[in-house]
Amino acid sequence: MRNNTVSSTGKFDFKRLSGNKGFSAFTAALLAIFLGLIFGFAVMVTASPENSLAGFQMVLLGGFRRIGDVLYFATPILMTGLAVGFAFKMGLFNIGASGQYTMGMFFALYAGFMWDLPASFHWGVCVLAGMAGGMLWGFIPGIFKALLNVNEVITSIMFNYIGMYLVDMLVQSNSAMYISSKTRTAYLPGSAQLPSLGIENSSLNISFIIGLAVALVLYVVLDKTTFGYELKATGHNKYAAAYAGMNGKRNIILTMVIAGGMAGLGGAFAILAPSTIEGSSMTYEPINIIAANGFNGIAVALLGNSSPIGIIFSALFISHIQRGGTLASLYGFKPEIIDVVIAVIIYFSAFAMLMNSAVGRFFKGRGRGPAQVEPAAAEGTAGLNKAGPVDEKKEV
């Protein structure tokens, strides 16, 4: 093993590069996207053969015509992606990003309508309120997990529903927020709306930049701090983390709070975005639907391999495909077909995890040195354990 690496440092060291985790995650994501696109194209060909090429071209390239929109729509899923990915680093599956997102949105709306603050920082307060709302909705499953060992998947799914119904009820019962004749929330005051970045016909606003900055902060937290070290150690092996004296309970709660805060920010960013039409704003329609952006966050996190930097790119990619898909309707594709195509592409991104390890194995297999005999022996016993006629029996 040693000799092997020494001898290969002279030339371009592909083995070393491919041994790098980030590299195999990146190639895996590209492979996943490529496969997804092929299947997406196949769906389009089936739906409407004559328009499929032009339509597919639009899916692929249409986003480039609307860069502003791509960035704008990327922001909420960037935040929910971070919410899922960050918790995943700790080994927690935060499927409750939707509920946290909805709570964040509600808190932001509340601060926007109910608090009369100067324009210079009203929107900032709304954003912080949204983050607090999301944090609260992350904190509760976190505390259940930490203190009572209740599976966070179950609690956070339940909290998706609790959050959604609660918000819909609270919105409908608040006359300052809700206009029952339109079944929507009223227009937010201008002071609560996020500053636009001034791209014409686009709602692109400062939240995109805040989102990027937050992702970078999370990257630093995960990679450079003792908290990140503990968090990843717990995610990889919670027993070893406990053995090393890490405070698992505190870390679980903290992680869920941070993750919830991310999704809450996503909700706030979505609802506080400035409208392109003067005097209006984004509105929320309380019709008992769980926020899709929460679930899209799972796909974003998977495709981005849970790394904050990866998640930036995967959020941009998914937003790009979604914008392109919307434009493909110009070629007569029904919105549902477009949804299917996008879903297929996103669905395949879930395979990214699988391919990640497959690609990693493929390259590592070639880079392995002869002195490393141990893994084979380990594989041997692993193989024995899952073998043949003794299959269903439990090890004593």
Binding site: Y229, P370, E374, A377
Partner: protein, 514 residues
């Protein structure tokens, strides 16, 4: 011409980058006990996996009674009469002995189990070979030795006559080992052929007819046991001479470092306490060994001592400080180092790099972090120092992912980290488990060196030779109690075995403890 029942001829098996078996030939005669000896990673498991149908060899062939056969999966192996007792038993704990034996080959009529017939057969077999197994006992209620006999009965029930034993003695007491040897001899007299995988030389000398030695994937040769010696075999196995004795001076114990008083810990699997009112002291400059057969409360005791689990009652103090309710981190700060029993589960974050694992007990210290940010340069230079000092070998130095390292080097990582950390007490739980002779020798030297540096060492071990060779004082644990204190200089392995199996207990000590 001699008759071989099974021949594995010129077997070669390659894993990516590793030649696990390189042109190995193994010939098993009918009615013989054939030992397969080798260090970890020598290729024993791979070779047996090929025979059992779990892997396919790249080249070479397997012959049964001189006819070439193809073994594609364990079912094929079974139908050719090949059976295996795995190192880790494959039994359903909440089933009875009988149910476990017939599992997979249940006799049934119209979908209904026909147990009576099977039961008779099991009883007949049990009697014939003197196995003394109760077919209606629940697996979880019987001893490990009995469980092994159930595994043996499974092979007999399936009418296998080529029996593979994968390190069968690791979990047994000396008396149980004796009985197993007798059972194996009985099989051989019946004309059954036995392949016996082990790295314990005494057992080979005691029971085997011939022995094949593997070394780094190659066959070092097959010898008749009566024409060889233990020393010769060990040299073949390791490739150099090995000292069996650990060189150490007499201990000069100082003040008590660890003091355990009436510690009781409830069991997770049954209603009784796993650890019952255990009291003892470990002094500076001595190695105290907690000996016992697996499952007599040692694991639970260590979990309580190191803070992984809460105590039911009792108290623990370290260097005069009461740590009964202290957190794991505070115990560590108070001077406790812990080499855990399961290095993969507790000791290492396998997906972390070597340097990240080196600082896992210390990353929070001022030298390794400033304001919550890890000081990478400090981590790097510290781990490089330990890697050099403890000769930890790896592919990419501090950046190696620990998962890719060999078991011996993984263990060295833990040992380096725990010994280098400021400590007064070193708790080493089965520190040599699964390691080869060379690594064991190294680790024993480190334990003795730690002792000579004036630290207290609590060694928890299942290996009798380790207990006898390394420790200065032996405490025997049986069913959660300390049943005896022995001096390794004046006791014998046989006596130790009597204590470990509960046949003998030191009443004086008991009164003292009470």
């Amino acid at each position: 011409m001699e008759e071989y029942i099974i021949e594995m001829l010129n077997i070669t098996k390659e894993f990516p980058g590793i030649l696990a078996n390189d042109n190995i030939t193994l010939q098993l005669k009918k009615g013989e006990i054939h030992a397969l000896l080798g260090e970890n990673g020598a290729g024993k498991s791979t070779l047996m996996s090929i025979l059992f149908g779990l892997y396919q060899a790249e080249t070479g062939e397997i012959r049964l009674n001189g006819r070439p056969v193809k073994i594609n999966n364990p079912n094929d192996a079974n139908s050719l009469g090949i059976g295996m007792v795995h190192q880790h038993f494959k039994l359903v704990e909440i089933f009875t002995v009988l149910e476990n034996i017939i599992l997979g080959v249940e006799p049934s009529k119209a979908g209904f189990l026909q147990k009576a017939e099977a039961r008779e057969k099991v009883l007949r077999l049990s009697e014939k070979y003197g196995l003394k197994v109760d077919p209606d006992a629940l697996i979880e209620k019987i001893s490990v030795g009995m469980q092994q006999r159930v595994e043996i009965l499974k092979m007999l029930y399936r009418e296998n006559d080529i029996l593979i034993f994968d390190e069968p003695t690791a979990v047994l007491t000396p008396q149980e080992i004796e009985e197993l040897m007798e059972i194996m001899r009985g099989f051989a007299r019946e004309g059954k052929s036995i392949l016996f995988i082990t790295h314990k030389l005494n057992e080979i000398m005691a029971v085997a007819d011939r022995c094949t030695v593997l070394w780094k994937g190659r066959c070092k040769g097959t010898v008749a046991v009566r024409d060889t010696s233990k020393e010769e075999l060990s040299e073949m196995m390791v490739g150099r001479q090995v000292t069996f004795k650990v060189g150490k001076k007499d201990s000069r114990p100082g003040e008590a470092v660890l003091s355990v008083k009436k510690v009781t810990i409830p069991s997770k699997t049954h209603k009784n306490n796993a650890v019952k009112a255990v009291s003892f002291e470990v002094r500076a400059g001595e190695i105290v060994c907690l000996a016992g057969i697996d499952g007599n409360g040692q694991t639970e005791f260590v979990a309580g001592l190191t803070g992984l689990e809460r105590l039911g009652s009792g108290s623990i103090s370290l260097c005069g400080k009461n740590i009964t309710r202290a957190s794991i981190r505070n115990r560590s700060k108070s001077g406790m180092s812990h080499i855990p029993e399961d290095r993969h589960k507790y000791g290492l974050v396998l997906d972390y790099t070597l340097e990240e694992n080196m600082v896992i007990q210390r990353y929070w210290e001022a030298g390794f972090q400033t304001a919550g940010f890890i000081r990478n340069a400090a981590v790097r230079s510290y781990s490089e120092k330990l890697i050099k000092q403890y000769d930890v070998r790896s592919g990419q130095g501090p950046e190696t992912v620990v998962r890719s390292m060999s078991g011996g080097n993984q263990q060295k990582t833990i040992i380096a980290r725990e010994i280098d950390k400021r400590h007064e007490l070193l708790v080493a739980v089965q520190p040599t488990r699964g390691l080869d002779v060379g690594a064991i020798e190294y680790i024993h030297k480190q334990l003795v060196a730690t002792r000579d540096a004036g630290k207290a060492v609590l060694l928890v071990s299942l290996e009798l030779e380790e207990v006898m060779n390394v420790s200065d004082r032996i405490l025997v644990m049986f069913e959660g109690e300390i049943v005896g204190e022995l001096d390794p200089g004046s006791t014998t392995i046989q006596e130790l075995g009597l204590y470990m199996s509960g046949a003998k207990r030191n009443t004086v000590k008991e009164i003292e403890n009470a």
